[in-house]
């Protein structure tokens, strides 16, 4: 058979023969003709009055499991209504096929449990509650495991796995430097331009320096960097751990006597907690540089007066407000990412869902943590 060969169209002709109905099938009865065959057979089935039906398959040029199943199904359906269906064929291959597909339970696929919708709703609520309980337990277990590992590492520093930490640091910090700096540079410039546009109207454009300096150092630098890191490293952590979970690599670690928290999670968390403050610092520099350039070009504030004004506006404390938040945000991002990664189940869809959840949750938590810090710093007057 060549690729272009066409098969004959299937057909089913009914003829009366006394008390017996003779159906003559012809053409190809294969899966590719499945839709036509099914239509032919249901049309005939609708108008049946005879109690004995013969189906002549001698003119059928091709039969496969789909065609055989349709015939078999016809026979079973008619038998339920007390009618007898017989097949006439010479080809013994048809016999093998028809017997192969003679499976009653295929007709009645296992029913899905549907039940009362209100009960289902209650069951859903219950299941969600249990899931929440399990999640909480998992978070606590992970924190406990981490604490235990850190404590153990105090006496055996090698268990901190400095090499893993270095590798993770390389990936989550060094790799992020260019994009974080570029983004902050642009944001710094935009803040200065936007602020300058309005302050210029009052002749107060020099305060753009105070505005962008304080805004960048206290809030923008750390928030934007944390969001970028959540999207960049957080999603990577979830995907890595998740696919390792899918392919039983995590289980393999476990039975080899390696602890997942120690080998995979702690190095990532520590690396991220070191990386984020550094990234925030670099982001701050880049943003101030961007702001300075904009001030120079757009507001004619020369670099010397920009720097002088900046020195008057911000102190080391301003910088520290931003940088101090970074390790906490890193911890949140890392914890959420690893947690979600460990929750991945067997399917690719589950991996995708947990990666999304990981990024969304950690960005949200970054904002929440920032809010908590704002309240905290305000109350201690920092």
């Amino acid at each position: 058979m060549k690729l272009t060969d066409k098969m004959d169209a299937p057909n089913l002709v009914a003829a009366q023969d006394g008390a017996l109905l003779l159906l003559t099938a012809s053409g190809a009865w294969g899966i590719r003709q499945g839709a036509t065959c099914e239509k032919l057979i249901t049309q005939v089935a609708l108008r049946l009055t005879h109690s004995v039906i013969c189906v002549d398959l001698k003119k059928v040029s091709f039969l496969d499991t789909a065609g055989a199943w349709l015939l078999q199904r016809f026979q079973m359906e008619q038998a339920e209504q007390g009618r007898q269906v017989q097949f006439l064929y010479e080809d013994e291959r048809f016999d093998i096929l028809l017997r192969e597909v003679d499976r009653e339970d295929v007709d009645n696929p296992p029913e899905k449990v549907s039940g009362n919708s209100f009960l289902n709703y209650l069951a859903g609520v219950g299941e969600a509650t249990r899931q929440l309980g399990r999640d909480t337990r998992d978070v606590l277990a992970m924190l406990g495991g981490l604490t235990a590992t850190v404590t153990a590492a105090a006496t055996h520093p090698r268990r901190l796995r400095p090499v893993s930490i270095a590798v993770q640091f390389q990936r989550s910090c060094m790799g992020a430097v260019p994009i974080v700096c570029l983004m902050s540079f642009l944001i710094g410039g935009i803040i200065a331009q936007q602020g300058g546009f309005y302050l210029k109207q009052f002749g107060a454009e020099i305060f753009v320096v105070d505005l962008s300096g304080i805004l960048v150092l206290r809030e923008i630098g750390v928030i934007l960097t944390a969001i970028m890191v959540a999207g960049r490293s957080g999603s990577a952590y979830t995907a890595e751990l998740g696919s390792m979970k899918m392919r039983e690599e995590i289980d393999a670690l476990q039975v080899t006597g390696l602890r997942v928290t120690e080998v995979l999670i702690l190095p990532r968390l520590v690396a991220l907690m070191i990386a984020l403050p550094i990234l925030v610092f670099m982001a701050n520099l880049a943003a101030l540089f961007g702001a300075g350039l904009t001030c120079w070009w757009y507001l004619d504030i020369v670099p010397n007066s920009f720097i002088a004004q900046l020195q008057a506006a911000v102190t080391v404390d301003t910088l520290m407000v931003g940088v101090l938040k970074a390790p906490f945000m890193a911890l949140i991002i890392g914890l959420i990412a690893c947690m979600e990664g460990m929750k991945v189940e067997g399917s690719a869809e589950s991996l995708g869902r947990h990666t999304t959840v990981s990024v969304v949750k950690s960005i949200f938590m970054v904002i929440v943590v920032d809010g908590v810090f704002a309240v905290f710093f305000a109350s201690i007057g920092f």
Partner: protein, 271 residues
């Protein structure tokens, strides 16, 4: 190489004239495949005839899976040509490729089930994609295939991650059979199956071959399958098809690997 070369033995027992007249479904010529510096296959030639079950053997890592993937157009090759159903796969238009893909079924070594779909949905993927069947018929055909490969019906609603290794193999076989293909590629279909399951598998393949004229390209290490269902056996070694022929031919070959494979302690134990 100073090593002596074994000449290919080709179907002496079955009568050459008959063999030559049969239609070639799959033709590989001078296929060379390599990764980086390393050549895995070199100038490999292979014919698969309509209606036969070709068993492919070779030591682990000789490139059986690579050859299968190359034939399927999944691996780039350095040179050579591959014809499927008399059509050069490289020169085929998109429509022709679709037509080819409708006519072959593939079982990958690791099953390669879609992890987000249930077993039943997995089997239905080709049906949905290529045919306009009613939902009922599609369901029934999927369940039929699931039963035929020996899975219990309640496996139909399970996700691949909830299956055992052997069940994954069976589910993947059900998917490869979904379209009642003309040409079936199987990569180690019975590894991971219990011996009874493997025997049932052999039965199913023979039945489909006899009734549908199925052509099977099967990588296998199962000596029972090789003896009971393979019409022809090809041995992959030294980056090419070293010998091919019937199981009786294999028994005559003096190449050390082939000899220990077919006439070694393990092979003789089964007699």
């Amino acid at each position: 190489m100073g090593q002596e070369r074994t000449e290919p033995v080709s179907g002496q027992g079955t009568g050459r004239d008959l063999v030559d007249e049969r239609e070639v479904l799959l033709r590989a010529r001078d296929v060379t495949v390599g990764f980086g510096q390393k050549l895995i296959l070199e100038n490999l030639n292979l014919d698969v005839y309509r209606g036969e079950v070709l068993g492919f053997v070779g030591a682990s890592g000789t490139g059986k899976s690579v050859l299968m993937r190359t034939v399927l157009g999944l691996n780039p090759r350095r040179s050579g040509s591959i014809e499927v159903f008399g059509q050069d796969y490289d020169e085929a238009t998109d429509d022709m490729r679709r037509e080819i893909e409708k006519r072959w079924g593939v079982l990958f070594q690791q099953g390669a089930l879609f992890s987000s779909l249930t077993v039943k949905q997995n089997v239905q993927v080709p049906l949905r994609e290529h045919l306009k069947l009613s939902a009922r018929l599609r369901d029934e055909l999927a369940l039929l295939k699931i039963e035929m490969v020996g899975l219990p019906l309640d496996a139909a609603e399970k996700l691949p991650s909830e299956l055992s290794g052997g069940m994954i193999k069976r589910a993947a076989l059900a998917r490869s059979l979904a379209m009642d293909p003309d040409l079936l590629f199987l990569d180690e279909p019975t590894s991971g199956l219990d011996p009874i399951g493997a025997a049932e598998f052999d039965d199913l393949i023979v039945k489909l071959k006899e009734t549908l004229g199925l052509t099977v390209y099967m990588v296998t290490h199962d000596l029972d399958s090789l003896h009971s269902i393979c019409d022809r056996i090809a041995v992959l070694s030294e980056r090419r098809v070293l010998v091919e022929g019937t199981i009786e031919d294999m028994m005559q070959v003096e190449h050390p690997w082939v000899k220990s494979y077919f006439r070694g302690a393990r092979a003789l134990k089964r007699v």
